[in-house]
Subunit: 211 residues, 2 copies
């Protein structure tokens, strides 16, 4: 019969579709509001299949998060490498964090992840890895800038911590769309702080200068 047409057609593709659906639903409803039925509906499959592939709702959530993590980072690393100097790279990171690639939706997801990480080990691992990668990238860019003579931080390790934390803090405002906080403002505030922290003198050749 044509009714149950696609069975066992491309199981790997279905798995992936479910993971994508999972993060889509979490983005829309949050962790607390995500049901197996929602995921199945979004993925266009049955509830049973979600459990078949991932064992439980928690399993599906974990798988979705891990996928998101890798996907995001690969994309980021790829684009970062395309920029040519440390100043440009730093600028790129500022813009990426502020909203390029629909980060607003992502920041909301981040807030959810932080809260969940308080109790769920999987979430904690994902956010920790993500955070470490991001900070490592920041540190590399800064070291590179120091080597090239563009930056002169008084303490680069601390600057990394502060600049990364500032992004998270600004992101809270952005995600909760506090009046007055926009992606432009985010970039502007962060960039000025970076200038102050790192003693940047030469402006970024690519990308418009702040403001």
């Amino acid at each position: 019969m044509a009714r149950a047409a696609l069975a066992a057609k491309a199981p790997e593709e279905r798995r992936e579709r479910i993971m994508l659906a999972t993060i889509a639903v979490v983005r829309e409803r949050g962790f607390a509001g995500t049901r197996v039925a929602d995921i199945a509906l979004e993925a266009g499959t049955s509830q049973g299949l979600v459990l078949y592939h991932f064992g439980s709702l928690a399993g599906a959530l974990a798988a979705g998060l891990t996928m998101l993590e890798d996907e995001f980072y690969d994309d980021f690393a790829h684009h970062l490498a395309a920029e040519d100097g440390p100043v440009e790279r730093l600028r790129f990171m500022a813009e990426l964090a502020a909203g390029r690639g629909a980060a607003v939706g992502n920041w909301a997801l981040w807030l959810e992840l932080w809260a969940r990480a308080l109790r769920d080990p999987d979430a904690r691992a994902v956010r920790e890895s993500q955070d470490r990668r991001w900070r490592a990238a920041l540190r590399r860019v800064i070291d590179e800038g120091v080597a090239a003579g563009s930056f002169s931080p008084s303490n680069s390790a601390k600057s990394v911590l502060r600049l990364a934390a500032l992004m998270d803090g600004l992101a809270v405002q952005l995600a909760l769309n506090e009046p007055g906080m926009t992606t432009r403002k985010f970039t502007e505030l962060w960039w000025e702080s970076a200038v102050l922290e790192l003693g940047i003198t030469e402006p970024a050749k690519r990308g418009k200068s702040p403001r």
Copy 2:
């Protein structure tokens, strides 16, 4: 009978006990893990009474949050007024945020609140009000410092935003107890940033200087 001893004894006191119990449970289990039964148990009353007073679980949560908000702010404002100069007050805020008064537990609660604020209007209102109050206090201290000649920010409005955001960002690390992040480190990192932002010259008379 002595069995059902305390009925209608002090309804207002029971209400308050329930609100306190509510935030205690949220602190321990998070919003997602908080059940009416937990609150009742913690408060030493019946499940029915929680609903009688607050109408629903959501109502109890909202009431608890509002109570927490006022309580925290009153306490803060009281202590802040006791400090004598702008530098001392700024220092006090740094230390309060970093962990005085068991803020670590509170920061965890904040993360939960942020995530919940994405969807729940009550939570959003509470966190917005809290945030506004905190930033207003920061701004007042900074203005005071400018007037007294202790601070010389290049743009005080922006400094307020950045310093407040930095606290939130550092708080994420602290709440998720990232290795290496402690209350001391929190204060140190934030204070250095404040020095940089505000051009503080004179050290705080009270409280040890950073590090």
